[in-house]
């Protein structure tokens, strides 16, 4: 069956004083109905821009290009502004990172919830209101009726994020994009929100793209994972496989960085990946990770690594044979 969302060679370019910043470089991925794809990577790797590119919400100067970008049967690239606006909030929703600033302080949350329904459905205010109450209860907010009249500043961070999720669900989207939905929240609330998202996704059978830099989040919610680095996807695969046997040196490095209680002896340093993320500006050739990788060879500078697929639904972008990587490349603690 065909995927819900298909992206082929999606790129985002931003003109900057030094040239052109290739923030997202020819990424390919699919999301199926009912499945959660996690886009993982450090800050600045292009994961948020990828989501914004799908929604066509890029900043003014940025340019999106792709060979294919489709949601179900609809070719998103061919849509005009109005048609795209009809899809946003409707078949496809996005939840943002910071619920404090993502809600308009001047209007009640009821108003901000209802306006989505009123925009996309020919409904009455009463129907919109009922739908809003229904969803607020679904996301676990009590006394939903009276909450509608409240303003964003009157709610706590966790509650606000629940409202954002409810907003995303108002029109029963087929695909939901969540950009670091728990990063701005207290650790104790994070778990609740993730749990909620997972439940809702199952219940409404939505496809979900969840963007995060936190491997803990990935472990909890992902079905499949795509690891991004400097604008490219360097590894994809099923979440269990990725965690058990990561193929790309960067993924291996990331996983090695996660401190596991009991595994690291006293007075041992925590693992880190040396170097800093390069800025993908101008003409780029070669592997982006080579100046931080412990397996770098001459060939890494010249070959534009293709994503290799050693197994079904598994891909990684490195010249190395995964077996060689694992045998020779013990990630020694720095």
């Amino acid at each position: 069956m065909s995927a819900l969302l298909q992206a082929e060679n999606l790129s985002v370019d931003i003109p900057v004083p030094g040239g052109v910043l290739h923030a997202v470089r020819r990424v390919n991925f699919n999301v199926n109905q009912g499945e959660t794809l996690c886009l993982v990577g450090e800050s600045g790797c292009g994961k948020s821009l990828t989501a914004l590119a799908i929604m066509d919400l890029l900043p003014h100067k940025a340019r999106r290009s792709a060979q294919k970008l489709s949601l179900a049967e609809t070719d998103l690239l061919a849509l005009r502004y109005r048609q795209m606006a009809d899809i946003r909030g409707n078949q496809m929703s996005m939840i943002f990172q910071d619920p404090m600033t993502s809600l308009n302080p001047a209007y009640t949350i009821g108003d901000q919830l209802m306006e989505i329904f009123l925009r996309h459905r020919k409904s009455s205010r009463a129907q919109a209101r009922d739908r809003a109450v229904f969803l607020l209860e679904k996301v676990g907010i009590t006394a939903a009726g009276s909450r509608l009249k409240q303003y964003p500043h009157q709610l706590s961070g966790g509650l606000r994020q629940r409202v954002m999720i409810a907003m995303g669900l108002m029109c029963e989207p087929a695909l939901i994009l969540a950009d670091e939905p728990t990063t701005a929240l207290d650790v104790t609330i994070q778990g609740q929100i993730l749990h909620l998202l997972a439940d809702l996704q199952r219940e409404f059978q939505m496809g979900m793209i969840l963007i995060t830099h936190d491997l803990g989040v990935v472990a909890r919610v992902a079905d499949r994972v795509a690891v991004m680095y400097a604008g490219q996807i360097v590894e994809t695969g099923d979440v269990h496989r990725i965690f058990e046997s990561p193929l790309h040196p960067y993924t291996q490095g990331l996983l090695a960085c996660v401190p596991v209680p009991g595994k690291i002896g006293r007075n041992k340093h925590l693992h880190s990946i040396p170097g800093i993320v390069p800025a993908p500006i101008g003409d780029l050739v070669g592997c982006s990770f080579r100046n931080r990788c412990s397996h770098t060879m001459d060939i890494c500078a010249s070959d534009d690594q293709r994503l290799k697929a050693p197994a079904l639904a598994r891909g990684y972008r490195c010249v190395l044979d995964p077996e060689v990587c694992r045998r020779n490349g013990q990630m020694v603690a720095a």
Binding site: G18, P278, A279, I281, D283, N291
Partner: protein, 299 residues
């Protein structure tokens, strides 16, 4: 196509702060244009005694109300015509620039001293000093400036010094507000506390730590107030309660030309354009300074 390693963000930064500032100054068209025009006007005012074709006070009742040279009846003897007393307009305009500039600079300076002192005091000491000074700022804001200035001039006569003093004592509020806000911001920064713990005296801290940082903001305010003062003097003179005849103030010239509006409109148009150009130039310089120095203060 050259292949290169991906550049790190450090490599992209480039020139030194000094070079960047210079580049910004010369790249800022408005600043350059404004500075040039202002410079020309200042030059004209300073050299007026030498370059003016006639004595601005010399009356010639046989050559009254001559039109400028581009009219059919105009002559090159009086390129911009003459006024109702036969005085050469071009010369009066040149000397009039002196009046405007003198008042502009003096008022900007005087009000700057008053306002900065008040603002820094309020911002640095806080507490009662702040409350009292803020109260005075409110008092000043609620006073109708034009009205008070008119009244004072009516009382004490319209000499340049009276105008400078009254405007200087009225236009300090923006300085005070800006100085106060910036001082408060800086005061909360660590290096002021370190100076205090080192035992530096208050005046020393103010002069060496605070002033350099608020200076560029104050310069921008100075340009605004200078423009303000020039326009106010012109308005006062226009209303008859500013500079007194026969001194050539552009506002006064417009007032004198008012009755000939119908047939000799250049009498009011030309001085007005001069005022416009001068104030415009000052504003452009002020905006330019602000644009150019803001990134530095952020750094």
């Amino acid at each position: 196509m050259e292949t290169r390693a991906l550049p790190t963000l450090q490599e992209i930064s480039g020139p030194t702060p000094g070079q960047r500032l210079r580049r910004r100054i010369f790249g800022h068209r408005a600043l350059i244009i404004g500075a040039v025009v202002l410079g020309l006007i200042i030059l004209t005012a300073v050299l007026a005694s030498w370059i003016a074709p006639h004595d601005p006070y010399e009356q010639n009742l046989t050559a009254r109300l001559l039109p400028p040279v581009w009219h059919t009846e105009g002559t090159w003897t009086h390129p911009l015509g003459t006024d109702r007393l036969g005085r050469d307009y071009l010369s009066r305009l040149m000397y009039g620039a002196r009046v405007s500039l003198l008042i502009g600079f003096s008022v900007a300076l005087l009000s700057g001293l008053i306002g900065t002192a008040m603002g820094v005091t309020a911002g640095y000491f806080g507490g009662w000093a702040d409350m009292i000074i803020t109260f005075f700022i409110t008092v000043r804001l609620s006073m109708p400036v034009v009205l008070v200035a008119l009244a004072v001039v009516a009382m004490f006569g319209g000499s340049l010094s009276v105008i400078i003093v009254v405007l200087g004592f009225m236009l300090w509020n923006r300085y005070a507000v800006v100085a106060r806000t910036t001082t408060m911001q800086i005061r909360s920064l660590d290096f002021v506390d370190s100076a205090k713990t080192l035992g530096c005296s208050v005046p020393h801290i103010v002069l060496s730590e605070i002033m350099p940082n608020i200076f560029s903001n104050l310069v921008v305010v100075a340009t605004l107030e200078m423009a303000n003062a020039i326009l106010l003097e012109a308005a006062l003179s226009f209303l008859g309660l500013g500079v007194q005849p026969p001194l050539p103030s552009w506002g006064l010239m417009i007032s004198e030309g008012k009755e000939y509006l119908l047939f000799d409109p250049w009498l009011i148009t030309i001085p007005g354009v001069c005022l416009l150009l001068l104030v415009l130039a000052i504003n452009m310089v002020g905006d330019g300074i602000r644009d150019v120095t803001v990134p530095e203060s952020m750094a």
